[in-house]
Chain length 444, copies 2
């Protein structure tokens, strides 16, 4: 059989052009490098975050978009302080340093640090059972690993996440003086993986750190040999008053329905432990790349396409909330939204939440992606930053890349530009741009 | 809906048990590390290769298999010699060193090395057009890149491969004195990627090297600025007489049809430029892991399952041929064969060549793998080492992992243990073991 180009539909040809372009262009990858290397430490509220805002706004200006906006957002400001120190102390001369990282929003230990006996637990029920008599005055060590047998590593993350987010509040109920949480990663490594935690206003605040998985294994073994083992750590983190930062918005106006907005975004803020490459510099740069690819290939969308670099996903999620609040104030029509915040690994597909009829049509777009090895179009999508648009009935989607390596880097010092693979990143840009193109083109 | 374990079939439960086991066990990964770190340089015919043979035979002995065999194979012996040196010389004081690697089976340049003007070409047609008057006395520089827009990187590799395999013979027809071939990789890097080449007995032999892609880009740019640019390189490679090496075979005897053999294998020989981790230490260790998983989970196969670490895939493919020759001599019945030689990245599926009826049933096994994100069961499979079994009518299969990163490491110094990801490797072992289990269990 002779297959000629004319047997392909206009849509198929456009998708091919998008993939071909993305796979031969390194602009977005280069911009990701600049973001990672020049704007490390860009957690919400920091000067670094606001410099990253300006960097992204400048990139958008250079792309000759129809509109670029820095949308102000009032954000919390938590300061990590000096490099954390921690030791396992199992005897008079038995002191081993282990890598820890303060959890985001944790209070510090004070200048002198904290030292106490350690009690290892797997979950909150165990604390309840142990009760105040066993826990008061001690450091609680949460050591439940992410379940390695789950293929969906995000499910494994979710299954272990309460230790980090609520461990301090739960342990403090029974008089604990601090908590050490096993890093939420599937890797056995020496990186502590940080992330946000929350206190409960009615319970005393106690300091909390993540310990590397190798450190956690060592602490656990040491405790088995010597239940009197002590743990000491010192953190100097604290909170400053709220400050102003920005969502960065760039858009190409729609040619037919300029009032209907399609949002594609990632978040610009990132934990200061790494460079925020996979989480989520890549998502921001891939979102910008949608607009760049449309410009380069002279694709004129019917609807307004907005790339958004959201602020404050990691700490208080205020960027996404402000974006939706402004949308409501301005009576904007949000036709569709996509979030890219699961790393820039090999694209697998898209998760979609939409009313049944629209959902079916969107899931059917899979046929355009199968030639590119992308075939996981599944029900259920969204993201922290676009989630607040749900109240408008906007269909929400998540870009889904391969997920086995994501938690190796997530929230740790290993989340660097070098961990982002050029072709995988390019294929992600192409997949997202193609998906947005088809949603708009086919009026889905 | 309450889903209880009893709603799963015996096969589904066995597959789940295999994946759960593989994802929580690091034995095979540890063994891969030992192979890579202790047995680097194990190209066919070398003492290193024969030490690797003993290492694998020893691993098999420890696994309490029913039979372990070192099957002798007469193999060629090519010696790389001293570290290669190469320079771009664009003027009296303009000399830049670039990374090159002799192609396997190439002759050396002699002690003094080679220096000549360079002519850049993209393909053999161009040499033909240029003819002897433009080529005689020069070094031909083949610079056609792998096509980056092909999602199937193996197709891109195939599309550029003739430069490496036949470039020297083609260029020598027109009087070239040497060839430099752009490395067959999708990456822009400083690693030369070697591989085998072949001479034509009726045409003079000239030395051939691979140049890193960054080196190739530099050479190309330099030639554009100064067409008189010279290239010099020195290689001291040579051939020794054939020697004896081995395929290493381990098997679990079948409980019902011990005379029906299912082979699963990879190749043990590897280019000395790297550690042969993805190519193909991983395939060997994953093949051995099938037997280990069967033993650990007390799976008693109906047929005899053989893991084979083949010798000499890279140079003359004599291990696979000898395996098939012995099978014929011994009148063995080969029921099925699978080759794992495409790296140990995230498993995507299996390629299968079989008569229509058996093929359909094998492709339908996909349903067991979908819960693990493995869903590319496609027609067309095989491999260099198992290919000779085709004459017996044996269905042949290839393990297919994700392929975007494979040519980054392939045949280069970057193919190290550290590039193999634990979970991806474990998932590969589980996928292969499950596939073999199902083929046997369901009598496909």
């Amino acid at each position: 059989m002779i297959v000629t180009a004319t047997t392909f539909s206009q849509e198929e040809k456009a998708v091919k052009a998008i993939f071909d372009w993305a796979l031969t262009d390194t602009t977005a990858y280069h911009n990701l490098r600049l973001l990672c290397k020049n704007h490390k430490g860009r957690i919400t509220g920091t000067p670094e975050a606001n410099k990253a805002v300006d960097f992204v706004a400048e990139l958008m200006q250079q792309m000759q978009l129809d509109r670029v906006e820095k949308q102000p957002v009032t954000v919390p400001r938590w300061v990590r302080g000096e490099a954390e120190k921690a030791f396992i102390i199992s005897g008079q001369n038995e002191k081993t340093e282990v890598p820890v990282s303060a959890l985001g929003m944790s209070i510090g230990t004070g200048e002198k640090g904290l030292i106490a006996q350690v009690i290892e637990v797997q979950n909150f029920k165990e604390i309840e059972t142990l009760g105040t008599k066993n826990i008061a005055g001690k450091i609680v060590f949460f050591n439940r690993p992410m379940n390695p047998t789950l293929i969906n590593t995000f499910a494994a993350y979710g299954g272990a996440g309460d230790q980090r987010s609520q461990g301090a509040a739960q342990a403090a109920r029974f008089g604990a003086v601090g908590v050490v949480v096993r890093s939420l990663t599937t890797a056995s490594d020496n990186f502590p993986h940080t992330g946000v935690m929350r206190y409960n206003d009615t319970i005393p605040k106690i300091p909390a750190v993540a310990i590397s998985t190798k450190g956690a294994d060592l602490l656990s073994t040491t405790l088995k040999n010597n239940p009197e083992t002590q743990f000491s750590f010192r953190t100097t983190c604290y909170q400053l008053p709220d400050s102003v930062s920005y969502n960065v918005i760039g858009e190409i106006k729609g040619s037919e329905f300029p009032d209907q907005i399609i949002t594609v975004g990632g978040h610009l803020d990132a934990w200061e432990t790494g460079e925020g490459a996979h989480d989520d510099g890549a998502g921001c740069m891939q979102s910008l790349d949608v607009l760049r690819i449309f410009r380069e290939l002279r694709i004129k969308p019917k609807r307004t396409i907005r790339a958004v670099a959201f602020m404050d996903e990691e700490v208080a999620q205020r960027g996404g909330k402000e974006y939706a609040r402004q949308a409501e104030l301005k009576k904007e029509t949000h036709y569709f939204a996509l979030e890219a915040d699961r790393g820039a690994y090999m694209p697998k597909g898209f998760g979609i939440s939409a009313p049944d009829e629209r959902l079916e049509k969107m899931l059917a777009l899979q046929k355009y992606f199968e030639p590119y090895g992308i075939d996981d179009f599944v029900k259920g999508g969204g993201g922290v930053d676009i989630g607040s648009l749900a109240k408008f009935g906007t269909p929400l989607s998540s870009f889904i890349p391969e997920m086995q390596r994501y938690f190796d880097v997530h929230h740790s010092g290993y989340d660097t530009f070098e961990q982002v693979h050029l072709r995988e990143f390019q294929l992600g840009s192409a997949a997202i741009a193609s998906f947005i193109y088809l949603i708009d083109k086919e009026d889905l």
